[in-house]
Subunit: 360 residues, 2 copies
C-alpha cells in the first residue's frame, strides 16, 4: 500500500510518499475495536503467520498468531507491517527514489523507531482504525510498542512488550557497530550503491553471525552444540567448520543474505541504536509515558536474555508505574536467551493470551 502523503521524520527530513507493506489476519469487527498490531524485530517482516515468500518458511511467529493461537485470529484482526527502512516492500534504502529513478541506497534518510511507528499510525489511519486493542512486539518490536505508548497512548488499549528495552545500551550499540563495519568493509558494498551489481553478502553474513551469538544464551549454545564436532569424528587441523557451532553460524550468516538487504540492516540497526525513549524528556523515562496512564502494559523478560536483560524491563515497569499505568511484569525462565520470545515457551503463550483477554 502506498500512502501519498509526506512522512515527516525525526531527522528533520521527510519522505514525499511512503509505501507500507503489511499483512492482515482475521477480520476487523464492526466497531473496529479488535485490531492487534504486531511489530516485528530487526530482521523480521510482515509474514508473521503466513509463509515467507522468499524462503517458503512458516511465519516467524506462526506459533503465536493464528486461529486458536494466543494472538487468536478468530477473535482479533491482526496487522503486521514491514517496518520503515526494511526490505520486504515497505520504503527503505532498496526502494527506488522517485526523484532519481534509482534505489535510494545511502540516500535514504536515517530513520528512528519513532519514525517506524509514525508510518504504522498512517497505515492505521488509512485503514480507519482509530484505536488498537493491543500493540505487541518482542525485541525491536517491543521498542515500537513502547514508542506507540509514548507517542499515541490514546490509540492503545494495551501494550505487550517482550524481551525489549527502552534504550540501547553501549554493548548493544557496540555489537551493531561491528555488524555495520563488517558490511561497509565488504568492497561489494560500494557506499550502498550495489543494487545493479553484487550485494555485499560476505559482510552481511559476518554481521548476522555476530548478531546471532547475542540472540542465544551461553548455556543454550553449550546445550545445543557444546564442543561437538561435525560428522567427521576428529579435528581437521584446518580452517573448515570443524565444530557444529561453526557450521551453524556460517549457515545462519549465509541464509540471511538470501532474504535481507545489507543497507536495510544498516538503517534498522541505526534506528535501534538511536532508540532512547527518555532522551527527548530530559532523560526521565517516566516522562516519556506521561500520557500512557490508561494503557494496560504487560512486560516479559527472559532470565537468559543478556541482550535486553531483565533489569531493563524492570526499569521500564518502574517508569510506567510511576505515571499510574497498570503494568504487569514477569521474568520467564527459558534456556534460549533473547530468542526465547520466538521459540517454544508455553508460559509466554499463556501470558500473551491472558494479556489480550484482559486488555479489552
Amino acid at each position: 500500500m502506498t500512502i501519498d502523503r509526506p512522512l515527516p521524520l525525526d531527522s528533520g527530513q521527510q519522505l514525499a510518499s511512503v509505501t507500507i507493506a503489511y499483512q492482515s489476519y482475521g477480520t476487523l469487527n464492526a466497531d473496529r475495536s479488535n485490531a492487534v498490531l504486531v511489530c516485528h524485530a530487526l530482521t523480521g517482516d510482515q509474514y508473521v503467520a503466513c509463509d515467507h515468500p522468499t524462503t517458503g518458511k512458516p511465519g516467524w511467529w506462526a506459533r503465536m498468531v493464528g486461529p486458536g493461537k494466543p494472538i487468536d485470529t478468530d477473535r482479533y484482526f491482526v496487522l503486521c507491517a514491514n517496518v520503515l527502512g526494511s526490505c520486504m516492500g515497505t520504503s527503505g534504502p532498496a526502494t527506488v527514489d522517485p526523484a532519481t529513478g534509482a534505489p535510494f541506497g545511502m540516500g535514504f534518510p536515517v530513520i528512528t523507531i519513532a519514525d517506524m511507528v509514525r508510518a504504522q499510525a498512517m497505515l492505521l489511519d488509512h485503514l480507519g482504525i482509530a484505536r488498537l486493542h493491543a500493540v505487541v512486539g518482542g525485541s525491536m518490536g517491543g521498542m515500537q510498542a513502547l514508542a506507540w505508548a509514548s507517542a499515541y497512548p490514546e490509540r492503545l488499549v494495551s501494550a505487550i512488550v517482550i524481551a525489549s528495552a527502552a534504550r540501547h545500551s553501549a554493548q548493544n550499540i557496540a555489537f551493531h557497530e561491528v555488524g555495520r563495519q563488517a558490511i561497509m568493509a565488504d568492497p561489494d558494498w560500494q557506499g550502498g550503491q550495489y543494487y545493479a551489481a553484487h550485494a555485499p553478502t560476505k559482510g552481511l553474513a559476518v554481521a548476522r553471525m555476530a548478531a546471532h551469538i547475542t540472540y542465544l544464551s551461553e548455556a543454550g549454545l553449550t546445550e545445543k552444540f557444546g564442543r561437538r564436532l561435525q560428522a567427521r569424528d576428529a579435528k581437521s587441523f584446518g580452517f573448515d567448520a570443524d565444530f557444529q557451532v561453526e557450521s551453524y553460524l556460517r549457515y545462519q550468516g549465509l541464509a540471511f543474505t538470501d532474504r535481507f538487504d545489507a543497507n536495510a540492516y544498516l538503517y534498522i540497526t541505526r534506528a535501534m541504536d538511536y532508540f532512547d525513549l527518555a532522551e527527548a524528556h530530559g532523560g526521565r523515562l517516566a516522562a516519556a509515558f506521561a500520557g500512557a496512564g490508561d494503557v494496560r502494559f504487560t512486560l516479559v523478560s527472559f532470565d537468559t536474555d543478556w541482550l535486553y536483560p531483565t533489569a531493563e524491563s524492570r526499569r521500564i515497569v518502574q517508569a510506567l508505574q510511576s505515571v499510574g499505568a497498570a503494568a504487569s511484569f514477569v521474568e520467564l525462565s527459558a534456556p534460549f536467551g533473547h530468542d526465547s520470545f520466538l521459540l517454544d515457551v508455553p508460559a509466554l503463550d499463556r501470558l500473551v493470551a491472558g494479556a489480550l483477554r484482559n486488555g479489552g
Copy 2:
C-alpha cells in the same frame, strides 16, 4: 633464537626448525631456581614489561612485571616468549618457509596450545632451565599455564592461572569463528597469500572489534561510554561514529591492524578453540592433572568476566583438588570484565605477589 631441532605438533605434522622470540627480565640465579615464565594472551607478545617495538607503548603487563612489582624482576628471572603461530618473531604463518623461500601463509601447520607449550619447553631446555618457579598467565596465557601443568608438571613449582579456562565453550568458539570469517571475507586475504600485497586489514579490524566487546563487561561499557555522543552534541542521522563507543571500537580495530598479522589471528584463535585439556583423557579433566599433585596452583577469576566466567575456574579447581594438588581460588570483583587481568586491580597484584612467594 632459532632452535634447529624439529618441533613435533599435535596435528601429526612437524616444524623442521622453530624460531622462538623472547624477552627476559631480571637475572637467573646460580641454582637456576628463580625463573618465572609469563605466558601471553591471544594478541599479546613477549614485550610484557618493555616498550613494544611497533607501537612504542609500555609492555602489556608493565604494571605487574618489573623491579618491585608483583612479579619482581629483582627476585625472579622472568621470561616471556612470543607464542608459536604468532607474529612478533616466533615461527608463524608470516614466517618464511625455508622449503619455499616464501611466507608459510596457510601452509603453516595448524597448532595447539600444547604445541605452544612444547615450544616453550624447548626454549627452557636451550636456556638450561630444568624447572620453573612459576608459570603465570591470563586468558590464553592461563591455558598455557594449565597445559604446562598437564604436560610437564615435574618442571613446575607453581602455576598462576588468571581469567582462563580449561576448554573453549561453544560461545567462545562462536565469537572466534565470526572473527575468522571476517578476515577470510576480506578479498585482500587472498587465501592467506597477502604478504606481498595489501593485508586484509578491514577484515582483521572487524574481527578485533567483535572480540573486543567480549573482553569488556556490559556494566563497564555502560560506565565508560553509556550512550554518550562524540564531541558534537547531537546525533548526525548518518553512519559516522556518533556514539563514543563506536569511535572507540573503530579505533581498537584499526590500531590492531598496525601490529598484528591476520593469519596469525586465524591460527591462534584456532588453537584456543581446539583447547580442551580433558579431551585426551576421556573427558575427565582431573586425569589431565594426574601428575600435577605437587604443583601449587593459584586460580583467579573476575566477577564481571563473561568470556571465561568464574564457574569455569571453579571446575578447574575441583579437578585439581581431586588429584591432591594445592589449589587456591579467588573470584575478584572488578568492573572491567575479562580485561580485568590486564588492568588496575590491586587485589590481583597482591594475589600474584603472594602466590609467587608461597610457591618457592
